[in-house]
C-alpha cells in the first residue's frame, strides 16, 4: 500500500529516519556482523590475538554434547510452556466468553500477570517451591512427595515451565477471548439448533474458527519461550542442575559472560540468529495471510 | 478573483498518459463544471489545478501567473473534497480557522471571518462541535466554510455532493450555486452526475478517457453534442443512437427511412433525443417500430420501442397522453433538423437538415 499524496523535501525524510537507522546500525547490525565475524575466529589463550578457523567453531559446537542437549532442552521447554499456557488460557477464555455478567471483572483479574517481569515471576515461584521453606514444597511433603529442584533436573524443568507459563497465560487469554468474541453468534446458534452440546459445539465449530488465533499464538509462544524466558531461568535455576534447564539463550549468556568462550558464544549467536529468522519469516507469512483474509 | 487558463495539459504516470492535452479557459467569476464518467481524468485535471498533482506537460495559469511549480498554498485556491477531509480532532471552528492560522492572520480577524462564514452557512450553533458529531450535510457545510474563510481567487470542488443522500444533494446544489454567485469567485467543479453539471454550470467540460470532448454552455452541449460520447452522456434517458445501413449508395435508418440527397459512409450513426421523436400511426412516420414497454413517470411517459433494424429507441411523450401497449406497431416521426449525424469515429458531421440539398 502506498500513499497517493506525498510531500517532497530534499533532506527532511533522511533526517526523520536517521535516528532509528543510526541506532539500528550501531546496536543491531554492527553487533550482528561482529557475531558472524567472531564466530570464525578463536582467540589465543592470552586474548591478545585471534586466529581464523573458518567453521571450526560451529563444528566444535555441534560436536559438543552439552550444546546438542541444550537444543533438546529448549525444544522440550518451549513445547511444554506453549501447550500448558495456551490450553489453560483457552479454558479460561472459553468460560469468560460464556458469562454475560462480570466478564469485565474477570478479565481485569486475569490479565495483570502480563505486567509481571519474567525475572520477578521467577522469584515468586522460587519462593513457593523453596526446597526448605516453600509453601508448596511443604504441601508436597505432606503428601509424601519430596521436592528439590536444586538437585532434581526434572523438577527444575517443571518449575521453570510453570513459572514461564504462568506469566504467559494472560497474553494468550486476551487473544483467545478476542478471537472467541469475534466468532459470529449466529454460527453457534445454528449449531445449537442442530442439537450440538456445548463441548461438541466447541470442538466442531468454535475451535476450528479459532485456528488463526491459535496458530498466531503458537508462533508467539515459541518465540517467548525461546528468548524472553531468560529471566525465569536465571533467577530460578541458572541453567542447572547439570545443565538440565540450559536453554539456548541461557547458554549463549553463560558461555559468553561466565565462561568467556567468545568464539563459541558468537557461533551460538549466529545459530540463534538463523533460528529467530526462521521464526520471524513464519510469523510474517502468517501476518501477511491474516491481512488478506 | 482570477481566471484560469489551461494550455495543452498532459499527465502521465510512468509511461501511461492519462490526460492527453486539454485546452480551456475559465473566465473570472465563472462556474465551470468538469463532468465525465469515473476514470476519465476529471479529478486528476482538477488536482493539477490545485497543485496536488504535478503537471507532466502544458501550462496551468491562475490570474496572470503560471502556477505549474507552485505549492497549493501559493495558488490562492480553496478546495472542497468528496469525503470533506475535515480534521477529526479539531472543532468546527478550528477546522475553518486552520488555514488562516497557518497564514498568520491575526486572531480577531480569524474570529471575524469564521463567524461570518458560519453565519452564511448556518453553522453558528455547531462551532464547538467535532466533525463526528455532525450530520453529513453539516460536514459538507463545514468543508464549504473552510473554503470560504480563505477568500480565495478560485474554488475547487471535487465531487463534493456524492456522499450525500439524493434530497440533500439537490438542496446543497442550490446552496453552492447561490453562494458562488454571491461571492463572485471563480469555481471549478468536478462531478460524474450530468444533472448536477447541467444545473450548476455556466459552462461545462465533458471529459472522456483523458480528452475534453466538448466545452460549452449546458444547453448548447445538450442541443449540439459534438461527439457521440457527449450525446450519450448528457441527457437522461440518453440520446437514441440509430445505425445506418447503406443500400445502393443511400443510407437507410430504422429499416425504412432513406436519408436522401447525401451519402453517409458505412458505420455512421444518427442520434436523436427522446423528446424530439413523436408517435404516429404505423406507416405514417419516417419508419415503423414495435413497442417493447412503457414507463409512465407522471409528468412524462417513456415509450421503449425497437425499430425494424433492431435498434432500441426511446420516445418521450406527455404524461397525460394515451400510451401504446407492448407489441403495438407504431410509426415514428421527427423533424430532420433534430436528427444528428455522427461518423464512424463518433464525431459529429452535421444535422441532417444541413446535409439535405
Amino acid at each position: 500500500m502506498e500513499k497517493r499524496v506525498t510531500f517532497s523535501n530534499p533532506w527532511l525524510p533522511y533526517l526523520l529516519v536517521a535516528p532509528q537507522l543510526v541506532i539500528t546500525a550501531v546496536f543491531f547490525f554492527w553487533p550482528a556482523f561482529r557475531a558472524i565475524y567472531q564466530s570464525a575466529f578463536i582467540p589465543d589463550p592470552f586474548g591478545l590475538r585471534t586466529q581464523f578457523v573458518g567453521f571450526a567453531n560451529f563444528e566444535y559446537l555441534f560436536s559438543n554434547p552439552y550444546y546438542r542437549a541444550s537444543f533438546l532442552t529448549t525444544a522440550m521447554f518451549s513445547i511444554l510452556v506453549t501447550v500448558l499456557s495456551m490450553s489453560f488460557a483457552l479454558w479460561l477464555a472459553a468460560m469468560a466468553d460464556r458469562v454475560i455478567k462480570g466478564s469485565g471483572a474477570y478479565r481485569t483479574l486475569l490479565i495483570w500477570p502480563y505486567a509481571v517481569a519474567p525475572a520477578v515471576a521467577g522469584v515468586l515461584w522460587l519462593f513457593m517451591f523453596n526446597p526448605f521453606t516453600g509453601i508448596i514444597t511443604w504441601s508436597l511433603a505432606q503428601m509424601g512427595y519430596s521436592w528439590n529442584h536444586g538437585l532434581n533436573g526434572g523438577q527444575a524443568m517443571a518449575l521453570v515451565v510453570l513459572a514461564s507459563s504462568w506469566k504467559q497465560i494472560s497474553y494468550n487469554f486476551l487473544f483467545f477471548l478476542a478471537g472467541l468474541q469475534a466468532i459470529p453468534k449466529s454460527v453457534i446458534e445454528a449449531a445449537a439448533i442442530d442439537g450440538a452440546s456445548f463441548w461438541k459445539r466447541f470442538w466442531t465449530i468454535v475451535f476450528p474458527l479459532l485456528s488463526p488465533t491459535t496458530f498466531f499464538l503458537l508462533v508467539v509462544n515459541v518465540i517467548y519461550a525461546f528468548f524472553e524466558t531468560f529471566g525465569v531461568i536465571h533467577t530460578i535455576t541458572q541453567g542447572g542442575p547439570q545443565q538440565s534447564t540450559t536453554i539456548l539463550v541461557y547458554k549463549v549468556f553463560a558461555d559468553g559472560f561466565v565462561g568467556q568462550d567468545l568464539g563459541s558464544s558468537a557461533a551460538q549467536s549466529v545459530v540463534l540468529l538463523v533460528l529467530v529468522s526462521i521464526l520471524t519469516v513464519i510469523q510474517f507469512r502468517f501476518i501477511e495471510r491474516r491481512v488478506h483474509y | 478573483m482570477a481566471d484560469i487558463t489551461l494550455k495543452d495539459i498532459r499527465k502521465s504516470y510512468g509511461r501511461t498518459e492519462v490526460i492527453h492535452g486539454i485546452d480551456a479557459h475559465v473566465e473570472d467569476g465563472e462556474f465551470i463544471v468538469i463532468v465525465g464518467p469515473s476514470g476519465c481524468g476529471k479529478s486528476t485535471l482538477l488536482r493539477m489545478v490545485a497543485g496536488l498533482e504535478t503537471v507532466t506537460g502544458g501550462e496551468v495559469s491562475i490570474g496572470d501567473r503560471v502556477v505549474n511549480d507552485l505549492e497549493p498554498r501559493e495558488r490562492d485556491i480553496a478546495m472542497v473534497f468528496q469525503n470533506y477531509a475535515l480534521y477529526p480532532h479539531m472543532s468546527v471552528f478550528d477546522n475553518m480557522a486552520y488555514g488562516l492560522k497557518i497564514a498568520n492572520v491575526p486572531k480577531e480577524e480569524i474570529r471575524a471571518r469564521v463567524t461570518e462564514a458560519a453565519r452564511m452557512l448556518e453553522l453558528e450553533p455547531y462551532l464547538d462541535r467535532k466533525p463526528r458529531q455532525l450530520s453529513g450535510g453539516q460536514r459538507q457545510r463545514v468543508a464549504m466554510g473552510r473554503a470560504i474563510v480563505r477568500k480565495p481567487a478560485v474554488f475547487l470542488f471535487d465531487e463534493p455532493l456524492s456522499n450525500l443522500d439524493a434530497k440533500l444533494r439537490v438542496q446543497m446544489r442550490l446552496e453552492i450555486k447561490a453562494l458562488q454567485r454571491r461571492l463572485g469567485v471563480t469555481a471549478v467543479y468536478v462531478t460524474h452526475d450530468q444533472v448536477e453539471a447541467m444545473t450548476l454550470a455556466d459552462r461545462m467540460i465533458v471529459m472522456n478517457a483523458g480528452v475534453a470532448e466538448q466545452i460549452g454552455a449546458p444547453l448548447e452541449v445538450y442541443a449540439n453534442p459534438q461527439t457521440l460520447f457527449v450525446a450519450g452522456f448528457i441527457g437522461s434517458p440518453p440520446m437514441n443512437v440509430l445505425r445506418t445501413e447503406v443500400r445502393d449508395g443511400t443510407a437507410v435508418v430504422g429499416g425504412g427511412y432513406e436519408v436522401r440527397g447525401r451519402d453517409l459512409a458505412t458505420g455512421s450513426v444518427i442520434g436523436v433525443r427522446p423528446e424530439h421523436v413523436n408517435l404516429v400511426a404505423a406507416g405514417a412516420g419516417l419508419f415503423d417500430a414495435t413497442v417493447d414497454f412503457c414507463e409512465p413517470l407522471g409528468a412524462e411517459t417513456l415509450v421503449h420501442t425497437r425499430t425494424d433494424a433492431g435498434d432500441s429507441l426511446v420516445v418521450r411523450i406527455d404524461g397525460e397522453a394515451v400510451f401504446p401497449s407492448t407489441g403495438d406497431r407504431v410509426g415514428l416521426i421527427a423533424d430532420p433538423v433534430r436528427l444528428l449525424a455522427f461518423d464512424a469515429a463518433g464525431r459529429r458531421i452535421a444535422s441532417l437538415a444541413d446535409l439535405s440539398p
Partner: protein, 281 residues
C-alpha cells in the same frame, strides 16, 4: 457480548466457579508473596508459612525501600522508572518519525531503509548479547542511563504500527492540509500527532511494561549497584551461597517491582488491550 448460546441454571454457576478457580490459581503466587512481605523472617523459616497477612508490613517495606541489599529499593525504582520512560519515549519518538518519513515521502533508499528496520525484528538483544555488550562498552555506555536505554529503543514493531496507522488516514486529509498551507512539519505536528493520540497512548502502555521488565540488558551494562534496576536488583538480593535469604524484604521488593506495571495494566486496561492486540497485527 457472549459468543455462546445462553445458559441457564447450574451451567452458569459452574462457569463462574471455573473462572474463580482459574483466578485463584493465577493469583496464588502473588498472594503468597504479599503475605510473605507482611510477616517476619521467623514466620517463614519454619514451614508451613502463614496464609494470612501479618503485622510487619511497614517494617519490611521500610527496610526494602531505604536499606535494601546492594542498593536501596527506592533508588532501583527510580532507575527503573528512568529506563522504562526513556525506552518508551525514545521508541515512540524515533518510530513515529521514521514511519512518517517512509509513508509520506518519496526518496532514494526509502525501501532499503524500510527493510533495514524490518530486519531488526530478527535481532532480539538475546541473540547478540556479547557483541552488543562490547559495542556499548566501547562507547563508554556501561553504568549509564544512556547505556540502559539507547540500545533498546530501535523498534521495528512500533515503526510498523505507526506505518499501518498512517496508511489508514485518508489522503484527502493531507491534501486539505496542503491546500490550507501546511508543510510536512506542520502537518505532522498539527494533524498527524493529534490523530495518533490513542495509538500513542496504547503503545506507551505496552512499551512501558516492556521497558520496566527488561532484565538481561541491565544485568550486563550495570555493574555499579547504584545503577541497578529493580527487576534485576531482586535477583541480586538472592545470595548464591549459604547465606540466609531475607525473604520478607525480598518479597516486599518483588511486590514493589510489580506495582508500577501492574497498576498501568489495571488502570489503563482498555488502552493496554488495544495496544497489545494492535501491535501484534
Amino acid at each position: 457480548m457472549s459468543g455462546m448460546v445462553e445458559r441457564r441454571g447450574i451451567g452458569v454457576w459452574l462457569t463462574h466457579a471455573g473462572l474463580v478457580l482459574g483466578i485463584a490459581i493465577i493469583c496464588f503466587p502473588i498472594y503468597i508473596a504479599f503475605v510473605a512481605s507482611t510477616v517476619d523472617q521467623a514466620a517463614l523459616v519454619t514451614p508451613p508459612m502463614p496464609l494470612v497477612p501479618g503485622g510487619h508490613f511497614l517494617d519490611n517495606y521500610h527496610e526494602a525501600l531505604f536499606v535494601g541489599a546492594n542498593a536501596p529499593v527506592w533508588l532501583m525504582l527510580a532507575n527503573s522508572m528512568v529506563m522504562a520512560l526513556g525506552i518508551t519515549v525514545g521508541k515512540i519518538a524515533i518510530s513515529i518519525i521514521s514511519a512518517y518519513a517512509i509513508v509520506y515521502f518519496r526518496f532514494r533508499f526509502r525501501m532499503v531503509f524500510f527493510w533495514m528496520i524490518f530486519l531488526t525484528l530478527m535481532l532480539p538483544v538475546e541473540v547478540r548479547i556479547v557483541p552488543t555488550y562490547e559495542v556499548a562498552a566501547g562507547l563508554g555506555l556501561l553504568n549509564s542511563y544512556t547505556g540502559l536505554i539507547l540500545p533498546l529503543i530501535a523498534s521495528a514493531t512500533a515503526t510498523f504500527l505507526f506505518r499501518q496507522l498512517f496508511l489508514t488516514i485518508p489522503d484527502e486529509l493531507v491534501e486539505a492540509a496542503r491546500v490550507d498551507g501546511a508543510g510536512p512539519v506542520r502537518f505532522f505536528i498539527d494533524i498527524l500527532l493529534p490523530m495518533s493520540r490513542t495509538n500513542i497512548a496504547a503503545l506507551f502502555v505496552i512499551l512501558f511494561i516492556y521497558g520496566w521488565n527488561q532484565y538481561l540488558w541491565p544485568l550486563l551494562v550495570t555493574t555499579d549497584p547504584s545503577m541497578n534496576t529493580i527487576v534485576m536488583g531482586i535477583k541480586q538480593m538472592l545470595p548464591t551461597g549459604d547465606e540466609v535469604v531475607e525473604w520478607p524484604v525480598v518479597m516486599a521488593t518483588a511486590m514493589l517491582a510489580m506495582l508500577p506495571p501492574v497498576l498501568v495494566v489495571i488502570f489503563m486496561q482498555n488502552l493496554f488491550v488495544k495496544g497489545l492486540v494492535e501491535s501484534e497485527k
